[in-house]
C-alpha cells in the first residue's frame, strides 16, 4: 500500500483544485476560501510525511503506471530523501501560502482564481519532485512553467504583469525544451527513463561521447528555471505577481526546481570536470550578480528576489562540488533559505498590505506601530544574514566549510572563500537594510510617515511559523534527531553516498567561523558606507542588464515568424515553386552524386540509337515544348497527346510491346478526357487566364525553376541508369517460371495478372476509386453551384438532335464512324483479354480500348445522346461486377489451387471445348475483371467530365431559338 500513498498527495491537491473551482460561484470571501483550502496541502504534507516514514531505510518508494507501453513510457513516481525534502517544503510552505493568500485577498470573492492557480502550481511542483522518471518529470516541469505563467499574469490588466509572465514562460519554457532534448539523449544512452535505470548507468552516461551535449541541454533547462546568470532576468520581473505567489515561487518552489533537477541527476551525470566547472562558474557568478543587484534595490520584493538569485547561485555551486560537506551544506541551505525567504516575502506583502508601499524610501520607523511584524522580520532577516543563533548561521557555516574544503582544485582555493565571503557580506547588508529601512530609525520621508499596524493573527501567523522555525532549529539545545536523519537522507540521495549531518551551531573556532566573522565585519562596513557604495555602483555599471539581449531575441523571433507567415501567401504557384526548389535543393545537398560519375559516363554512345529512336526523342521533345508555347488550350492538349505517343514509341523500342500498347491507348484516352474537360472550364475564364500566361518576368523565373528541376531530374535518371545493378534475381525467375507456372508466354502479362495479382487487384480498386471520387466531387460541386436541376435534364433528353461535345451538330458520316468503331473496339478488347497471355495486350489495354470506342460516342453524339443510345453502359454495374469478379477469381484460386489468386485452368478442369490458344484460366477471368473495371471507371470519368455544362446549354438554347425562327 505505501506505493499508492505516493499518488495520494497529488490526488488530494487535484481534489483541492476542483473544490476551489466549485467555490468560484459560492461568493465566499478569500479568507474563508483560504481557510478551507489550506487543508488540502496540509493533508498532502501529512500523507507525504507518512509515506516517507514507511519507506525502508535508504530505499526509495516507487509507483508506476503504464502510460504508453509501446514506447516504454510510464507515469511513475519516486520518493526518497531528496524528493521528500522538496515535497514537504512545497506542501508545508504551500499550506501557509494558501492561508496567507486568503488573508491577503481578504474580502475579495474573485480570488478563487488565484487560489486555484496556486493549487495548480503546487500540484505541478509536487509532481515534479515526486516524478519517478524523466518524462513524468518533464511533464510536471512544463506544468510548473505554465501554471506560474498564470500566477504571474494574475493581474492581467497590468502590462508589467503580462510582460513579466511572458518573459518567465519564454525563458523557462525554452529551457524546458532544451532539457527534454537532453533527457532523450540520457534515455537513449541509459536505455530507460526511470531514475533507477539512470542511476545504474552513471558511468555509461559520464563516459559517453555525447556527455557534453546532453549535459549542456539539461543544464540549460535547470539554469533557466533556477534563474542562473544570465537567465536570471525573468525572476525580478516575475515580482509583478501578487505577493503570495512571489513568496511561494521564489522561496520554496519554482526556482528550486532547477536545483532539484541538478541534485537529482548528480549521482548519474555529476562528478565530472565539466560538471564542476560549469556549475561553479555559473553558480559563483550568479551569487555575486544577485548580491550586487539586490543591494541596488529600494523595493522590498526585488530586493528579496535578487537575494534569492544569489542564494540559488550558491546552491548550484554547491551541487557542482563532489564533497560530502557540500551536500550537507546544500540540504541545510535549501531548508534554511526556504524558511527565512518565505517568511520575508510574506512579511513584505503584509507591510505593503498595511502601509500601502514596499519602497524603503517611504518606510521607516514602524517598529512601534507593528511590533509583531518587526519581530518576525528581524528573526528571518537575521537568519538571512547568517547571524547566530539562527538557522541561517548554520547554513552559512557549512557553506564556508564546503568552500574551504581541501579537496577542491587549487585554483579555486582562494576564489571560493573570497566570493562566498563577499556575497555573504552583501546579503548581510541587504538583510540589515531591510530591517533598518522598514522599522528602525525615523521615517525616510519625514513629511509622509508611513502608517500601519499589525494585522490579524491569521495573517501574521503565515510568515511567523517559518520565522520561528528558523530560530528554533538554531537555538534548540538538543539536536532534533528526526530532522538530522531527514536531511541526511536527502543529502545522501543527491550525493549518492552517505552524508553525515549535524545541526550543532558551535563547532569551535575554525576557518569557517573566522571567515564568517570577516563576512559580518565586511557586511557592517558595507552597511555603514552604503550610500557611497551604492552611488559608486550605479556609476560604475549603470546599465548592467541583459534585458536588451532578451528583447532583441524576442523581436527577432517575431520578425522571423512574420517572414515565415508571408511565405504562406495563399498563392498556389508560389507554394509549388517553393516545393520544387526545395526538392532541387535537397537533391543537390544530400544526394552526394560523385562528379566523376558524370565525367566517366558522359559519352555519346550511339549504341542503340537508330532512326526510330531519334525520331521518338525528337517527337517527345518537340511536342512537349510545343505544348508549352501553343496559346490555344485545345492545340496544346493535342501536342501533349503527341508527346505521349513519342513516349510510347520509345517504350516499344526497348522492346516492350505491352507497356507501349497501354501507353498508346491511355495517352489517347487522356487526351480525349482532357479535350472533353476543356469545356468544364468556360472559355472566357481560360482565355483570361491565358492572357496572363505570358508576362515576361514570370516566364523567365518559371523557365529557370523548371529548367533546374529538369536538370536535376535528368541527373537523377542518369545516375540511376549508370549505377543500377546489372544482374537481376527477379527477372530470370519470372522468365523461367512464367510458362510452367502460369501458362503464359507473355512474361509481363504473367507478372501483372498472376505473380503480382494481389497488387493488380488493389490497383484496379484505386483506379475505380479515382472514378468514384470524380463522381463525388462533381456531384457535390454541382449541387453547391445549384446546377442541373432534374427538370432541365428531362428537357434536354427530349431534344433528339445529336450534338457533339461543344454543343455543335456533327455530321452523319461521323455518326456512321461511331457506329462502326464501337463494335470493333469491343471485339479488339475481347481479343486482348483472350490472348493477352501469349500476345501483347492485357485487361488494361482491353478496357481502355473499349473506353476509347465509347469516348468516340461521347465526342460525336454528346453526353445525352450517348446515355440514351447505349443503355447497357451502366458504369456502376461495370465497376462492381469487375471488382466482384476479381475477388471471386482470387477466392477461386484459393479453393481450387490452394492459394489466393493461384493459377487455375477452369477450361481443362471442366473439359470445355475451347478454341486453340485460348484457355479459360483464372488469368483470363482476371483480365475480364480488369477490363470491366477499367471500362466502367473510364466511362464514369467520361460521363462526369463530358457532361454538358453551362456553355453547352447556352448552345442548346441558341439552336432551339434558331429552329423556332425557321
Amino acid at each position: 500500500m505505501p506505493d499508492f500513498l505516493l499518488v495520494l498527495p497529488l490526488l488530494i491537491l487535484g481534489i483541492g483544485i476542483f473544490v476551489a473551482l466549485a467555490l468560484s460561484r459560492s461568493g465566499w470571501t478569500a479568507s474563508r476560501m483560504g481557510g478551507l483550502l489550506l487543508f488540502f496541502p496540509l493533508a498532502a504534507f501529512g500523507v507525504t510525511l507518512y509515506a516517507f516514514s514507511l519507506a525502508p531505510e535508504g530505499k526509495a518508494l516507487t509507483f508506476s503506471l503504464p502510460w504508453v507501453p509501446s514506447l516504454g513510457l510510464n507515469f511513475s513516481l519516486y520518493l526518497d530523501g531528496l524528493s521528500a525534502l522538496f515535497a514537504l517544503l512545497i506542501t508545508g510552505i504551500g499550506t501557509l501560502i494558501v492561508l496567507y493568500a486568503g488573508q491577503y485577498f481578504g474580502d475579495d470573492s474573485s480570488a478563487w482564481r488565484f487560489l486555484t492557480y496556486i493549487l495548480l502550481f503546487m500540484l505541478a511542483m509536487l509532481g515534479l519532485v515526486l516524478a519517478g522518471d524523466l518524462i513524468t518529470l518533464f511533464l510536471f516541469w512544463e506544468a510548473t512553467s505554465i501554471s506560474s505563467f498564470l500566477l504571474i499574469a494574475y493581474k492581467y490588466k497590468d502590462e508589467a504583469a503580462r510582460k513579466g509572465a511572458f518573459k518567465s514562460l519564454f525563458i523557462t519554457g525554452g529551457g524546458g525544451i532544451a532539457m527534454l532534448a537532453g533527457f532523450v539523449f540520457i534515455m537513449s544512452i541509459s536505455g530507460g527513463a526511470d531514475f533507477k535505470t539512470i542511476f545504474a548507468s552513471g558511468d555509461l552516461l559520464r563516459n559517453s561521447p555525447l556527455y557534453p551535449v546532453f549535459f549542456t541541454l539539461v543544464i540549460i533547462g535547470a539554469f533557466t528555471k533556477s534563474a542562473q546568470f544570465p537567465a536570471h532576468i525573468w525572476l525580478p520581473e516575475a515580482m509583478s505577481a501578487p505577493t503570495p505567489a512571489s513568496a511561494f515561487l521564489h522561496s520554496a518552489t519554482m526556482v528550486k526546481a532547477g536545483i532539484y533537477l541538478l541534485a537529482r541527476l548528480n549521482p548519474a551525470i555529476g562528478n565530472t570536470d565539466l560538471w564542476f566547472w560549469v556549475l561553479s562558474i555559473f553558480g559563483v557568478t550568479t551569487m555575486l550578480v544577485g548580491a550586487y543587484l539586490g543591494f541596488k534595490q529600494n523595493d522590498l520584493k526585488p530586493l528579496l528576489a535578487y537575494s534569492t538569485v544569489s542564494q540559488l547561485g550558491v546552491l548550484v555551486a554547491l551541487i557542482g562540488q563532489d564533497t560530502e560537506i557540500a551536500f550537507k551544506a546544500l540540504v541545510i541551505s535549501i531548508l534554511a533559505h526556504a524558511l527565512y525567504k518565505s517568511a520575508l516575502f510574506m512579511s513584505a506583502g503584509i507591510i505593503d498590505h498595511e502601509t500601502g508601499t514596499r519602497d524603503i524610501r517611504k518606510l521607516g520607523g514602524l517598529r512601534k506601530q507593528m511590533p509583531i511584524m518587526f519581530g518576525i522580520i528581524s528573526i528571518a532577516a537575521l537568519s538571512m544574514a547568517g547571524l547566530p543563533p539562527l538557522f541561517g548561521f548554520l547554513a552559512k557555516e557549512t557553506l564556508l566549510a564546503s568552500a574551504t574544503h581541501p579537496s577542491l582544485p587549487a585554483i579555486v582555493d582562494l576564489l571560493f572563500p573570497l566570493t562566498t565571503v563577499l556575497a555573504g557580506a552583501f546579503i548581510l547588508a541587504q538583510a540589515a537594510l531591510l530591517v533598518r529601512g522598514v522599522f528602525l530609525g525615523a521615517p525616510a520621508d519625514e513629511k509622509h510617515p508611513p502608517h500601519g499596524h499589525d494585522p490579524k493573527i491569521w495573517f501574521w501567523l503565515a510568515p511567523g511559523i517559518p520565522a520561528v522555525l528558523s530560530l528554533l532549529i538554531g537555538i534548540t539545545p538538543v539536536e532534533p534527531v528526526f530532522l538530522v536523519d531527514f536531511l541526511a537522507a536527502a543529502a545522501k540521495a543527491a550525493y549518492g553516498a552517505k552524508v553525515k549531518v549535524s545541526l550543532a551551531l558551535w563547532t569551535g573556532i575554525n576557518v569557517p567561523l573566522i571567515l564568517s566573522m570577516i563576512a559580518i565585519t565586511l557586511g557592517a562596513l558595507i552597511l555603514w558606507q552604503r550610500g557611497r557604495i551604492r552611488t559608486w555602483m550605479m556609476n560604475l555599471l549603470p546599465n548592467f542588464t541583459l534585458n536588451t539581449l532578451f528583447n532583441g531575441t524576442v523581436s527577432g523571433l517575431d520578425s522571423l515568424a512574420e517572414t515565415a507567415t508571408k511565405l504562406q501567401r495563399g498563392q498556389m504557384r508560389f507554394y509549388l515553386r517553393v516545393m520544387i526548389l526545395s526538392m532541387v535543393a535537397i537533391v543537390l545537398l544530400f544526394s552526394r552524386i560523385p562528379l566523376t560519375m558524370f565525367t566517366q559516363n558522359l559519352h555519346w554512345d550511339i549504341e542503340g540509337l537508330n532512326g526510330l529512336r531519334a525520331f521518338s526523342l525528337v517527337m517527345i521533345v518537340m511536342a512537349s515544348l510545343a505544348s508549352l508555347v501553343i496559346r490555344r488550350d485545345l492545340h496544346a492538349v493535342i501536342a501533349l497527346g503527341v508527346s505521349g505517343l513519342g513516349v510510347a514509341i520509345w517504350m516499344a523500342l526497348d522492346p516492350s510491346p505491352d507497356v507501349a500498347l497501354v501507353q498508346i491507348v491511355v495517352d489517347i484516352l487522356s487526351t480525349i478526357i482532357l479535350i472533353l474537360s476543356l469545356n468544364i472550364l468556360p472559355r472566357k475564364q481560360r482565355n483570361k487566364a491565358n492572357e496572363l500566361l505570358h508576362s515576361r518576368r514570370g516566364m523567365t523565373r518559371d523557365i529557370l525553376v523548371a529548367g533546374l528541376a529538369g536538370l536535376v531530374m535528368a541527373a537523377i535518371t542518369f545516375t540511376a541508369l549508370n549505377t543500377r545493378p546489372r544482374d537481376s534475381v527477379v527477372a530470370p525467375y519470372y522468365a523461367e517460371n512464367s510458362k510452367p507456372l502460369t501458362g503464359a508466354k507473355d512474361i509481363v502479362g504473367a507478372i501483372v495478372v498472376d505473380f503480382r495479382a494481389a497488387d493488380t487487384m488493389i490497383e484496379i480498386m484505386v483506379f475505380a476509386m479515382a472514378g468514384l471520387g470524380i463522381y463525388t466531387v462533381l456531384h457535390f460541386a454541382s449541387r453547391k453551384a445549384g446546377e442541373h436541376s432534374q427538370a432541365e435534364k428531362t428537357k434536354l433528353n427530349a431534344e433528339h438532335t445529336p450534338l457533339g461535345i461543344h454543343g455543335l451538330p456533327t455530321s452523319p458520316l461521323l455518326h456512321l464512324l461511331a457506329y462502326i468503331t464501337l463494335p470493333l473496339a469491343l471485339m479488339l478488347g475481347v481479343t486482348h483479354m483472350m490472348y493477352g497471355h501469349d500476345m501483347p495486350g492485357d485487361g488494361f489495354t482491353a478496357g481502355v480500348v473499349i473506353s476509347l470506342g465509347i469516348a468516340m460516342w461521347y465526342i460525336i453524339f454528346g453526353y445525352e445522346e450517348t446515355r440514351r443510345k447505349l443503355p447497357w453502359l451502366n458504369r456502376v454495374t461495370l465497376i462492381a461486377s469487375g471488382l466482384t469478379l476479381s475477388l471471386l477469381n482470387a477466392i477461386g484460386g484459393a479453393i481450387f489451387a490452394g492459394g489466393v489468386a493461384a493459377p487455375v485452368d477452369y477450361g481443362a478442369m471442366f473439359g470445355l471445348p475451347l478454341p486453340p490458344g485460348f484457355g479459360l484460366t483464372n488469368s483470363f477471368i482476371f483480365e475480364v475483371a480488369i477490363a470491366l473495371t477499367v471500362t466502367g471507371t473510364a466511362t464514369l470519368i467520361l460521363d462526369n467530365l463530358g457532361r454538358p455544362r453551362d456553355e453547352e446549354k447556352e448552345a442548346f438554347e441558341e439552336l432551339a431559338s434558331i429552329k423556332e425562327q425557321a
Binding site: G570, P655, A706, T717, A735, V748, A785
Partner: protein
C-alpha cells in the same frame, strides 16, 4: 543510351514543371500528364538490362527486364485515374471561384 533517356526524362519533367507553374489551371493539368510521363519513362528505363527481344518466354535473344514493365504498365493506368480526378477538381475551382486562374484562388488562405 543512358544519356538519351536522361535527356528525354529531363525535358519531359522540365516541361511539366513549367506547365504546372502557369496560371491557367488547365495548363497545370497538362503539366501533370507530362510529369507522370517523365516518371513512368524513368521507372521503365531502370530495368536491369536493355534487352534485344520482348519479354516472352519464347524469345531466343536476351529479353528486356519484365519487372519494371509490369510496374509501369499499371502505373500508367493509375496515373490516368489520378489525372482525371485532378480535372474534376479544376471544375470545382471553376465553379466555386469563377476563374481558371490559379492566382485568383484565394481560399487557400484563411
Amino acid at each position: 543510351m543512358n544519356i538519351l533517356t536522361s535527356l528525354a526524362v529531363g525535358i519531359l519533367f522540365a516541361a511539366g514543371i513549367y506547365q504546372i507553374l502557369r496560371r491557367n489551371v488547365i495548363r497545370a493539368a497538362i503539366g501533370l500528364v507530362l510529369i507522370s510521363n517523365a516518371v513512368n519513362l524513368f521507372l521503365f528505363s531502370t530495368g536491369a538490362y536493355n534487352g534485344q527481344a520482348a519479354a516472352y518466354s519464347t524469345a531466343t535473344a536476351q529479353i528486356s527486364d519484365p519487372l519494371p514493365q509490369a510496374l509501369v504498365l499499371t502505373a500508367i493506368v493509375i496515373s490516368m485515374g489520378g489525372f482525371a480526378f485532378v480535372l474534376s477538381l479544376l471544375y470545382v475551382i471553376s465553379t466555386r471561384y469563377k476563374t481558371s486562374d490559379s492566382d485568383e484562388v484565394k481560399g487557400l488562405k484563411n
